[in-house]
Structures are given as structure tokens and as C-alpha cells.
Symmetry: C2
Subunit: 503 residues, 2 copies
């Protein structure tokens, strides 16, 4: 009786356990991570830790919180050899497509703290300099966060999060880009960047990223980002043939210094900064046309504008001071008509005043009245013999630009902060902006795009891709008073202007 009872009980428990087990079955991704797939892929957690935080001492990367598609791309790269790695190659090959999807989504969803440590002998300030500023002036080296996002958040499937990543891993990867052992970067971007970095910069940047909290990355509000302090950082090397603005960390003390700093924050975060966002009707920022916070020669540097105003401008047929010039940027490039306030900031507004304080400071030492500073605006070059073609330009765009600006030109916004600016559509510059002219945009693109690879496009490609971008629809020209043909006749009769001809 008792045995029968025991047997029945045992069977019941067995059934219950089986039922329970099936109810709380471990998902495939977690299973592979914890135990492998029994088909040759060993448990990921063996090297990358159960919480996905990796193992810095051995150079095993943190996987937690990394974009799943990016991780999947890496497994495929191990499979096809574009990442040459003896450990990962057989594991990746042993994973099915379903396995890869499951395990990468699993790791992407983990929200663990970082286990990375930083070398106390390495200057985090120097790291911040590389990560937040880069060194555009002398080497066309964009800041790391230009692509990897604020606080190392990562951006989309192409630019992995680096916050809390192990310094050892970052350093190895840079070495691998340089040596060609790793070559799965889109458009050769990381190879180019890695080649530009020196040993100290690599060490400093890797340690700086390792020091960042991955749970806070990307959550930085505009204000937090604006308040990032970089102290005791050496200035970027001078641009030999161009004017050198004051070094990043040399703001004056006192109220003027505060105004300058705020102006710089407005300049780089225009559509999300508390002082300026009410005047911005799209996802554009000053820095999108004036690279490196308005410092970079041949990228419309602000220090070349300050000494050249007041000046007469055909655009509005009057004398413009720098205030009106800046207001023009808000009106057209930042489409103020669609903003909360509905127009550019007033001349005496804090936004204008702080932007001017910043530009003034950047221009320290420039001689008043100098209208031809070397590096002003974008370098002009002749229209190619074949002219320009949106159709040809589309291919150039999808190959070189879509990675950041999106296949539909929509750009990328992270927590309300523009990471990559839209190039057309309702969040782009409007039809009154200078950039809508095919020639002007071609000049900008050729000299500056993609970041880190200036002058890499042929003249023809630059004109064609500019034509493709500028033949797309964008917000109405504020000059428009209801009749498009009239507006076209009055303001858009140039041959480099698609207004009224756009799709």
C-alpha cells in the first residue's frame, strides 16, 4: 500500500516536475550562453561571464547590452574570416542562424554592470579628449563618440556600445584593424581611424571607455552632455596652415567663461539644449555643418566668420551682423518656423548671446575685417564635365552615407539628441538653407564626408550624391508665401537648385 502510494506520489512529482520544467524551460539564447548548443559551440559564459560582462584580464569582451544585430554580424564575421579569431571561428561556425539570433538577442538584453577596470597610470582626461573631441584639426580624426554615441552608448547595428567595455579588448581590436586581422568595418571607417591613433591615445581612449558606466550610457540628457567637463587636457595640435582657435580647456574664468561654455553646448546640441531647442524646428545642430564644434578649417569654421561680419549679403540684400547670420541659420538650416517659438531667437536672447560669446572666443586673435581667413567656408571646385545626377548619386549615397544618415536620409536621434542629422524629410534643413544648393553641399561633402575620410569621394561622386540628397523633399522655404512658382522664380532660379523640381 505504502509502496504503491510512494510510487504514485513519485509519478505525480515526476509529472509535476516535468510540467514545471516545460513551463519554465530555459530560452534558447540563455541556454546556449550558459551551456552551449551541444553541436560544438561551447558555453559563451565560460569566457564572457554569466552576466555578459566579459573577462578583461583575458581580453574577452563584454557582450551585455550590445546591439544584437551588431553581435550577430560579428559571429558571421568570425565565420567568414573577416574577423580572424582562432577561438571564435569554430564556435561561430557551430552556431545555426537560429542559434545566433537567439544568443545575440539574449546578450543584447542583459543589463549588467561593468566589470572593466582602468589602469590608474593612464590619464582619463586624455582619453576624454580623444573620445569627446578627437583631433580633427591636424589629422581629421573625429571624436569616437561621433559614431559610438554619447557616453559610449553605441548607435544602431554598426557602432557598438563601448561604455564599460574592457580596455584590453578595445586595444586589441584597434591593433587588429591596423594589422588587417579584423576587416569587417563598413567603408573602411575603423581601419582609417585606427591608423590615425597613436599608442598613447589608444591607451587613453580604451581606459576612458572602460571607466564609463554602461547602465548610464546613452541616457545622458542634453544638459548632462553639455556639462561634461574635460579638464587638464592638452589642446589638439595646430593646423599648420590655418588659424588655431584656443585649446578646448582654456575657457576664461567668470561669467564670460560660463557664457562661452554654454554657447559651445548650444552649438553642439542645438536642437536638444535647454537654451536653444525651442527655436529649432528639426533635428539639426550647428555642429552638423560646422564640424568639430565650429573649429575645423574647410568645414565653415566659426573663427573665419567672426572677423568677417558685419557684411553685405545678397541673400537678404542688406548689411548683416553676426547675429543676423546666426539667426539665418536658425531660420533656414534649423527650420525655426516649425519650432516651439516659431522663429529664430531674438538678438538679445541668451541663445544668441552665448553662441556669440563662444564664436568670439573661438576667434580670439582673428583680425577684425579679415574676410578671407584660410579655411573659411567649404573649398570650392568645378562642376564635373558630366554635371550632376541624382540617379548616380543614389548609389553613392547608399554606399557611403546611409550607414549614418539612414537609407531614407532620416538620420539618428538618441534620447532626443541628434547623433546623425537627417538630410531630407521633415527634420532636415529647409529649402532656404544654403546647404540645399547642389554646389554648396558638394563642397561640404567632398571636404568633410565621411568623417575621418575627407576628400575620399571623387569630385563626380560628391556632386552626384549632393544632387541626390538635395533633390529630395524637405521643409518649405520660409520665403514661401503660398505660391510655389513665385517663390521659385524669386529665390530658386539657380541651376543648382531643385526647389519645385523635387520628387
Amino acid at each position: 500500500m505504502i509502496n504503491k502510494l510512494e510510487n504514485s506520489l513519485f509519478i505525480c512529482i515526476l509529472i509535476a516536475f516535468t510540467l514545471l520544467n516545460s513551463a519554465i524551460a530555459i530560452p534558447l539564447g540563455e541556454k546556449i550562453a550558459g551551456s552551449g548548443n551541444n553541436k560544438g559551440a561551447t558555453a559563451c559564459s565560460g569566457c564572457h561571464a554569466a552576466n555578459g560582462s566579459g573577462l578583461g584580464a583575458a581580453g574577452f569582451p563584454r557582450l551585455a547590452g550590445i546591439n544584437a544585430i551588431y553581435l550577430a554580424n560579428q559571429l558571421n564575421a568570425f565565420r567568414n574570416g573577416s574577423r580572424d579569431n582562432a577561438i571564435m571561428a569554430p564556435i561561430a561556425k557551430a552556431l545555426s542562424a537560429e542559434d545566433i539570433k537567439a544568443v545575440t538577442e539574449y546578450y543584447s538584453g542583459l543589463k549588467s554592470a561593468s566589470s572593466a577596470i582602468t589602469d590608474p597610470n593612464v590619464s582619463l582626461s586624455n582619453g576624454a579628449n580623444v573620445v569627446l573631441r578627437g583631433s580633427w584639426a591636424d589629422r581629421k580624426l573625429p571624436a569616437c563618440e561621433q559614431c559610438h554615441g554619447p557616453g559610449g552608448s553605441g548607435v544602431g547595428a554598426h557602432f557598438p556600445a563601448l561604455a564599460g567595455q574592457h580596455a584590453s579588448y578595445i586595444k586589441t581590436q584597434i591593433a587588429n584593424w591596423r594589422s588587417g586581422k579584423r576587416k569587417n568595418d563598413p567603408n573602411n571607417l575603423m581601419k582609417t581611424i585606427a591608423d590615425k591613433l597613436n599608442k598613447d591615445e589608444i591607451e587613453a581612449a580604451a581606459n576612458y571607455y572602460a571607466s564609463l558606466d554602461p547602465l548610464k550610457a546613452g541616457l545622458a540628457t542634453a544638459k548632462q552632455t553639455a556639462n561634461l567637463k574635460i579638464k587638464n587636457v592638452s589642446s589638439s595640435t595646430a593646423q599648420s596652415m590655418y588659424f588655431t582657435p584656443p585649446a578646448y580647456n582654456t575657457y576664461p574664468q567668470g561669467p564670460l567663461g560660463d557664457s562661452i561654455r554654454n554657447g559651445e553646448a548650444i552649438f553642439t546640441l542645438t536642437n536638444s539644449h535647454v537654451t536653444s531647442k525651442a527655436y529649432v524646428g528639426n533635428h539639426q545642430q550647428c555642429v552638423n555643418c560646422h564640424l568639430d564644434a565650429g573649429r575645423l578649417a574647410n568645414a565653415a569654421p566659426m573663427w573665419a566668420s567672426w572677423p568677417a561680419y558685419p557684411a553685405y549679403r545678397k541673400k537678404n540684400n542688406k548689411i548683416n551682423d553676426i547675429t543676423m547670420r546666426i539667426q539665418g541659420c536658425f531660420t533656414y538650416s534649423m527650420n525655426a518656423q516649425a519650432s516651439k517659438v516659431g522663429k529664430a531667437p531674438d538678438a538679445n536672447s541668451i541663445a544668441i548671446m552665448d553662441l556669440k560669446a563662444y564664436i568670439y572666443w573661438l576667434s580670439s586673435g582673428t583680425p577684425a575685417g579679415e574676410t578671407k581667413m584660410a579655411g573659411r567656408g567649404y573649398p570650392k571646385f568645378a562642376e564635373p564635365k558630366l554635371g550632376f545626377s541624382p540617379k548616380r548619386g543614389k548609389a553613392v549615397y547608399q554606399k557611403n552615407c546611409a550607414l549614418c544618415h539612414g537609407r531614407n536620409g532620416q538620420g539618428t536621434l538618441l534620447n532626443g539628441v541628434t547623433q546623425f542629422p537627417p538630410l531630407w524629410g521633415k527634420h532636415a534643413y529647409n529649402w532656404g538653407a544654403g546647404m540645399h544648393n547642389v554646389n554648396k553641399a558638394a563642397f561640404f561633402i567632398k571636404a568633410n564626408m565621411p568623417p575621418g575620410l575627407p576628400n575620399s569621394l571623387s569630385d563626380q561622386d560628391a556632386w552626384d550624391v549632393s544632387a541626390y540628397i538635395n533633390s529630395q523633399e524637405r521643409p518649405q522655404d520660409p520665403h514661401h508665401k503660398g505660391n510655389e512658382q513665385e517663390t521659385k522664380k524669386k529665390y530658386h532660379h539657380g541651376k543648382y537648385d531643385y526647389y519645385g523640381k523635387q520628387k
Copy 2:
């Protein structure tokens, strides 16, 4: 019968003639001018011509239209020997006080054309340069018209009209000031000026004045004055230790040049210029504090301000750009509250834009961010041991300043154009202007007043006269909101401030 009849007729005619003669009796002044006084004074017209236009070939001056008191003063000077003249001395001595009054009023009222001729070998442009510009920078030489009025109109009893005066006479007088043969100038002013002029300048200025139409002098409207063109004039010699602004005649071509020129006119004619007068509530002009059209070192030159803005100002506790700084001048120094518009011009107004274009051009080549240009502002010096006393200052004022600014500080307005600015009273700068501070005004006065005689007052006199001027009543501080004690407490607690303590 016929004889009797003839006699009666003769008597009748005699009576009629006598009656007629007494009815149209020649006034005393005209009589002396035409026939002398029969007491030793010969007819003035013998040398000075019947219409008072003088005789250039003989060096006899034009008298027509010259201020009567000035002329009387000269006759008295011939009498007492402070004008050493062998021909005029006995004539002047032969005239009674009544004769002098009559004849000088007669000549003063004549409106004849000029008979002066100009030497075709002398450059009138160079003359214009001396007369309209002077040479403040290198020799503290004020423009002649600074005292003699627009177009050589003459100003009051002290500064005779020079339009249409014979060049030979002007040259002789300058020679006489230099030699001491003539010494009836108030405060040694003309002796000082004459000593500073070189031979070419004397020749050019004398011929320039000879060329001017006396019937149009002083009638120049602000606009006409503003449009005076000086061409092909060499620039004033550089101020060796100070920044040298562009030469007067080197405006750029095109709309910017037009804006600069208009800005200069606004700067020098602020309260009468069509572009700016609606914003000016008193009789002040920019040039009254910023001498030589804003060019002069140690007289708050504009080229030292341009590179120093934006800047933090305690006065309003915020960052000010050059626009706000200029607006402050309108608000306080030009008392905009009492103007037609009632406030300073807007940031984007033509008045502000053209003033900025002018200041920008004056500042050509100054390095942005330079806040300590040599010659900026007014040179500071310590308060004297005796402090400052309005009572002592009154005597200094009446001796040195009243000549131009008036015994009651009222200044001089000619046809609506300020010749000498008021220093107190309802047309003076208000209680919010920087100049109302005893120390600041002392600094200005010491370095710049009287024109042509900088640093001629002792430190003590400069402080005392400043105290006298600034202890007088003037328009209310625009900060005032109804309670003078409150305004005083908040804005006027400094020891150099008579606000609330004025008479």
C-alpha cells in the same frame, strides 16, 4: 514875383528835403561804415568794401555776417593792444562805445556774397582734412569746425565765421597768433592751435574756408553735413604707440562702405541724423564722449571696444555684446527715454547696424578678444589728496569750459545740430550714464579737455570741475521706478556719485 516865387519854391524844396532826409536818416552804423564818424574814424567801407566783403588782395577781412559781439571785441582788442595793428588801432580808438555797437551790428547784419578767391595750386581736399578732421591722433589738433561751426558758420561771440573769409587774412591771423602779435584768444586756444599747424595745413585750411559760401554756412542740415565728401585726402599720421584705424578716406566700395559712411555720420551727428535722431532724447552725440569720430586714443576709441565684446558687465550683470553696449549709450548718455521712440534702437535697426559697421571698420585688424588695447577708455589717475569740490570746480568751469559749454552747462545747438554738448540740465546725459560719475568724467576731462589742450588742467582741477558738473541736475536715471531713495540705494551708492544729492 518870379524871384519871390523861386525863393519860396527853393525854401519849400529845402524844407521837404530836410524832412525827407530826417525821415530816411542813415543809421549810425551804416553811416560810420560808409563815411566814418568825423572824429578820426575813417569809413570802414574804404577797406572792407561797401557790402562788407573785405579786400583779399590787401588782406582786409570780410566783416559781413560776423557776430557783432565778436567784432566789437576785436575793436576793443585793437584799442587795448591785444591785437597789434597799426591801421586799426587809431580807428578803433576813435570810435565811441555807441559807435562800436552800431557799426558792428551793421556789419553783422550784412548778407553779402563772398569776394574771396582761392589759389588753384592749393589742395582744397587737404584743407577739408584740416577743417573737418584735424589731426587729433598725432598732435591733438581738433578740426577747425569743432569750434568754428559747420561750413565755417561761426559759433557765438568767441568763434567767428570763416566761410568766405579771405585766405590772406586767415593766414595773417594764424601767423599773428604764433608770433604773439595777436593774443586776444580765450584760454590761449588759437595760439595753441596755430602753433600746431604746419605751413601747408595753414595754406590749405585758409583756402578751404575762402572757398565756402558764407550764405550757406551753418544752414547745412544734418543730412548735408553727413554727405560731405572728403576725397583723396591723406590720412592723419599714425599714433605711434596706439592702434591706427583706417584712414578717413578709405571706406570700402559697395553696400558695406555705404553702411560704414552712414554709421560715421550717425556717430558724429547722433541727435540730428535722420537715421538716429528719433532715439536721442537730449543734445548728445556719440562723438561727444568718443572724440575724433571715435578714433582718438584715451578718448574711449571705438577700435578698442570692438575687439573686447562680448563681455560681462556689472552694470547689468550679464554678458553684453557690442550691440547692447551701444544701446546702453542711447539709454543713458543719449537719454532715449525722452526721445521720439522712447528707447534705444533695436538690435537689427539700421542705426545699430550702421554704427556697428562703422565701428567694425574703424577696428580693422584689431584682434578679437583683446580687452586691453592701449588707449582704451580714459586714462585713470588717483583722486587728489584734497578730494573733489564742486565749489572749487565752479571756478575751473567758468574759466575753462563755459566758453563752449555755456555758463549754465547748456551747450550750443546750431540749426538743430549740436555744436557743443550740454553738460547738465534736461539736454545732458542722464543719471545712468557712466559720465555722471565724478571719477570717470575727471579722467575724460584731464585727458581730453579743452580740445587741443589735453592734460592742461591739473589733476585737482579735473576732479573739481567734474564734481561741479556732475553735482548739477540732469535727466532721471532710467532705472528709477518712482522712488529716488530706492534707486539711489541700488544704483548710486558709490562715493563718486551725486545722485540724490544734486542741487
